[in-house]
């Protein structure tokens, strides 16, 4: 049995682009042939499921039966990676639950790999979340994600303030998600397909589509930059897989 990896993508604040990051991760693992499943905790709506319906289940992470669906099945099936898109406000409660059920202890013992992608918004409140989150992290690989995709404004906090929070967590690494052209972002939303399908000009059922070449180009360029960040942090090594370039992926997709 291969060692399973659980990636929690979350933030306590809403509207900071958690689902966008989760989508880019699912595309990244698809491209790198890493068997992945996802849980969307935005019950009952499920934004992540709209884009990645084939690998995503909508769950209520505060309910014990759904916690069992996620964590009791780790390592039982062919999925190497489990991505959990934690909805706004549930980041700290989720980490608390993980501690309570002994999940963090299992990570400490090396039975699984635990990764947290903490998405930061532009407000100072996002930094306060770091301190709160730190108490639950244990042996998790912790990534602080500065997400510029939905926001043109500068982050409110300065480098010194950020660093003071950043240093509170041992071995924290930061990731920057660049801005995506607004119209391209809107069109992917409308198409309700993974970024990778949009780049490859494919519809939700894999059929040919007629998306703008310009907008596909913007998404490809953006996705390439996001994946470069994932390559930089050696994400495929972290989950135990090789990697493939975005151009190669779009051509094969």
């Amino acid at each position: 049995m291969t060692k399973p990896t659980v990636i929690v993508v979350g933030a306590d604040k809403g509207g900071v682009g958690k689902t966008t990051v989760a989508r880019s991760l699912l595309d990244y693992f698809t491209a790198n042939h890493v068997p992945t499943r996802a849980f969307d905790t935005e019950a009952p709506r499920g934004t992540l499921k709209r884009f990645h319906a084939d690998v995503t289940e909508v769950v209520d992470i505060t309910a014990v039966p759904d916690q069992m669906r996620i964590f009791d099945t780790l390592g039982n099936d062919e999925h190497k990676v489990t991505v959990i898109d934690v909805r706004a406000g549930l980041m700290s409660p989720t980490l608390r639950s993980l501690r309570d059920i002994g999940f963090l202890e299992a990570a400490k013992k090396g039975q699984l790999t635990f990764v947290v992608f903490h998405i930061l918004g532009p407000s100072i409140a996002s930094l306060d979340e770091i301190a709160e989150t730190a108490t639950f992290l244990g042996d998790a690989r912790y990534f602080l994600v500065k997400n510029f995709i939905n926001n043109t404004s500068f982050f409110e906090w300065d480098a010194a303030t950020y660093n003071s929070y950043f240093k509170k967590i041992k071995d924290a690494v930061d990731i920057t998600i660049p801005k995506l052209n607004e119209m391209a972002s809107e069109q992917v939303e409308l198409a309700s397909v993974p970024f990778l399908s949009f780049v490859a000009n494919k519809g939700s059922n894999g059929q040919g589509a007629s998306y703008s070449f310009v907008l596909r180009g913007y998404v490809r360029h953006w996705l390439g930059n996001v994946w470069a960040e994932y390559d930089r942090i050696k994400l495929t090594d972290l989950v135990g897989a090789g990697k493939v370039s975005i151009l190669q992926t779009a051509q094969n997709h």
Binding site: E182, M183, S212, F213, V214, L215, R216, G217, R220, H221
Partner: protein, 235 residues
């Protein structure tokens, strides 16, 4: 897309759909003149052609072909779509793009970011960049920059003799626009004037001037075709 009408019946020669991008980082060096000449070259050769005007606050191609030129503001995404989504179609309609000096950087930034040259190659579209020289080194520097950014795109330096003291860019494939006879200058610059609508075969100063330019256009088209054939034979 609205293609400007050719003046005679098509010869039906099969070739990659050409996209000519006429540009310079400097204003008033004769870009629009070169674009007009290319458009009328297509029309005289009875080949369909579509024109795009990417000028901002400068005399532009649209003034010479009112109603037949697609104007685009390169900083607007919608206009980028109207432009590049058309340029990438392999429909046999030649495309001529007049890129104004102020649009020079944003145009090539967008082209690079969206992967225009790779997609063009995949779809059998042949982009050709014609860069018009200026009195200083700026065009030569810009040309070197474009060579680095688009290594697989044909680049042609244009030496316009009307731009006094134009800097000669040291590269092969240079196109020379001879000085237009002074008596014709006023006529040619009128917005209503078209090279293609002049009576063919009339011996005149204009014909002689045009012949010198169109011979060079044919030569570089032939060079591109031969290069393409040679690549295909090697593959």
């Amino acid at each position: 897309m609205h293609a400007l009408k050719p003046t005679q019946r098509s010869h039906g020669v099969a070739r990659r759909t050409p996209v000519y991008v006429v540009c310079s980082p400097r204003a008033r060096v004769g870009k629009t003149l070169v674009a007009r000449l290319l458009i009328d070259f297509f029309r005289i050769e009875s080949r369909p052609v579509a024109a795009f005007d990417i000028n901002r606050n400068e005399p532009s191609l649209a003034d010479y072909f009112p109603g037949s030129v697609i104007k685009a503001d390169i900083v607007k995404t919608k206009d980028q779509m109207a432009l590049f989504d058309s340029l990438i179609i392999n429909d046999g309609i030649g495309k001529v793009v007049d890129v104004g000096a102020s649009a020079f950087e944003p145009f090539f930034d967008v082209a690079q970011q969206i992967g225009f040259s790779a997609e063009a190659r995949r779809r059998s579209v042949q982009p050709v960049i014609l860069i018009v020289s200026d009195v200083d080194r700026s065009s030569a520097d810009a040309l070197s920059g474009l060579q680095r950014r688009f290594p697989d795109v044909a680049l042609i330096a244009v030496h316009n003799e009307a731009a006094i003291g134009a800097y000669r860019m040291g590269m092969s494939g240079q196109l020379r626009i001879p000085l237009i006879p002074p008596v014709l200058k006023g006529v040619v610059e009128k917005p209503t004037f078209s090279f293609a609508n002049e009576p063919a075969g009339t011996p005149s100063l204009l014909d002689a001037w045009l012949k010198q330019i169109f011979v060079q256009f044919r030569e570089f088209e032939l060079r591109l075709l031969l290069k393409e054939l040679s690549l295909q034979m090697r593959a």
